[in-house]
């Protein structure tokens, strides 16, 4: 008899199936069931996943680089035109910044300090169409906390839902359980942005008489205190009957690097060097 034969018997199988059922039932009732064990195991597997991800990442970069070479000339012309346009915008932005600053000083407005970010690499994803989450290789020791907002290259992609010591799980905006309070830019209309496991996001709780058109920018409202206000999310892409769809700015299906908005750092509190106090005593 082999050592595992004892655990291959009928009673062992029944016991394991019963245990699976019990675990499954518990995690449906309480989604944060065994969260400590989950983050602990993810912390252990994170270095291995990082190592396995590296060659795939390098291959993807290489393929991207090679395919990019073929349209280098067209891309260069496009970037030159874009650079020219951005230089004009830069001048406008400087002028508006100066005007804004002088008006704020005049009105004695307390301005929100700029955000700080924790940059991280995606090391694993759910790999299925039912759960839209990704794992990143930063955790508590890097300053990540639960519920922090996560940005891709061009906009919000989700929020931190589990934090381990060296890894964290991010729930993407496309996940069925994702809910983000938003405001439609240029209007005062607030709403809820929900995921449906599909690439486009749904706008919910919009009054029938609200004047929404396609192309309006959608940003976080900051309501509920989870997300900072004003983070870009996407644009209204279609309005059909009562279904309003939003196309995210970020390519949520292809996220390889993310920025976590570090709300744990209060930029209004300055760090002090304790050595400077030695001379006082």
């Amino acid at each position: 008899m082999l050592p595992f034969d004892v655990l291959n018997g009928r009673s062992a199988i029944i016991a394991l199936l019963a245990l699976s059922g019990l675990l499954l039932f518990s995690s449906i009732i309480n989604p944060s069931f065994m969260q400590g064990a989950r983050t602990g195991l993810v912390d252990i597997t994170a270095p291995v996943l990082k190592a396995i991800n590296t060659p795939f990442d390098m291959a993807a970069n290489f393929v991207g680089g090679v395919s990019g070479l073929t349209n280098l000339r067209a891309e260069n012309a496009q970037l030159e035109a874009e650079n020219k346009r951005l230089r004009e915008w830069y001048q406008t932005a400087l002028m508006l910044q100066a005007e804004n600053q002088s008006l704020q000083e005049l009105l004695n407005v307390k301005v929100d300090a700029p955000h700080k970010y924790i940059t991280a690499k995606v090391i694993a994803d759910s790999g299925n169409s039912f759960v839209k989450t990704v794992l990143v290789g930063v955790g508590q020791i890097d300053g990540v906390q639960k519920n922090q907002a996560v940005l891709g290259e061009e906009g919000l992609i989700g929020r931190v839902i589990e934090v381990g010591k060296t890894s964290s799980r991010i729930m993407l905006l496309t996940d069925l359980n994702s809910r983000v309070p938003i405001i439609l830019e240029g209007t005062r209309q607030k709403a809820m942005l929900t995921g449906s496991n599909a690439p486009l996001l749904d706008l919910k709780y919009i009054p029938d008489d609200s004047a929404i058109t396609t192309g309006i920018r959608v940003v976080t409202s900051g309501d509920g205190g989870v997300f900072p206000s004003g983070l870009p999310i996407g644009r209204v892409s279609s309005i059909e009957n009562k279904s309003i769809k939003v196309k995210p700015f970020a390519d949520i299906n292809h996220v390889s690097n993310v920025r976590i908005v570090n709300t744990s750092i209060n930029p209004n509190l300055m760090s002090i060097d304790l050595d400077t106090f030695k001379d006082i005593h």
């Binding site: 245990l19 675990l23 499954l24 991800n53 994803d125 039912f130």
Partner: protein, 176 residues
């Protein structure tokens, strides 16, 4: 005194089994890791099912239910699934395949492959039913069909590697 366990025969037996178990571990990691390819976060082969099916037929002693249960739990923990879903699915798949192993062993390769297609379809349909039930809405089918299709397509390549590993494995005890 020389330790009787560390004989050259036993060490040879251990490294050969280690390769087989290591390959199962590698398939598990490939099922979890990010591929940095567009849409691979939702459409990809379910690699870990391949050694599960293959060894359940040709060498069930390599994949005892307790190991499959643990593999399922790791998938659930790391991929963010409800805990216990894949632990249960892997044990059920093992039970079904093990009951049919003598029949499948005697079949030509296309039938063996079709058996795998049935197993992956069962797993994906079970996942779909589970999530449709807990979310009280029918989940989209297109990505599941695509994942199922590419899992079936990838199987012959992975099966070739496992056939090679099978050749170097030590002879199973009588009755296995």
């Amino acid at each position: 005194m020389r330790n009787a366990f560390f004989t050259s025969e036993n060490l040879d037996w251990i490294w050969r089994l280690g390769i087989a178990q290591g390959f199962v571990g590698l398939m598990l990691l490939l099922s979890l890791v990010s591929f940095s390819i567009p849409y691979s976060d939702s459409i990809r082969p379910f690699f870990v099912l391949m050694p599960l099916y293959y060894w359940s037929i040709y060498r069930p002693s390599l994949v005892p239910v307790i190991i499959l249960f643990a593999l399922g739990l790791i998938v659930d923990f790391v991929s963010g699934f409800p805990i216990g879903l894949h632990a249960a699915l892997f044990v059920i798949v093992h039970l079904i395949v093990k009951r049919q192993r003598l029949f499948l062993m005697g079949q030509p390769y296309p039938m063996f492959w079709m058996g795998f297609a049935i197993v992956t379809t069962f797993v994906f349909v079970a996942q779909w039913l589970f999530f449709s039930l807990i979310n009280l809405q029918l989940m989209a089918l297109n990505e599941i069909i695509a994942s199922n299709f590419i899992t079936i397509l990838f199987f012959p390549f992975i099966a070739m590697i496992m056939a090679f590993i099978q050749k170097i494995l030590p002879r199973p005890p009588k009755g296995y």
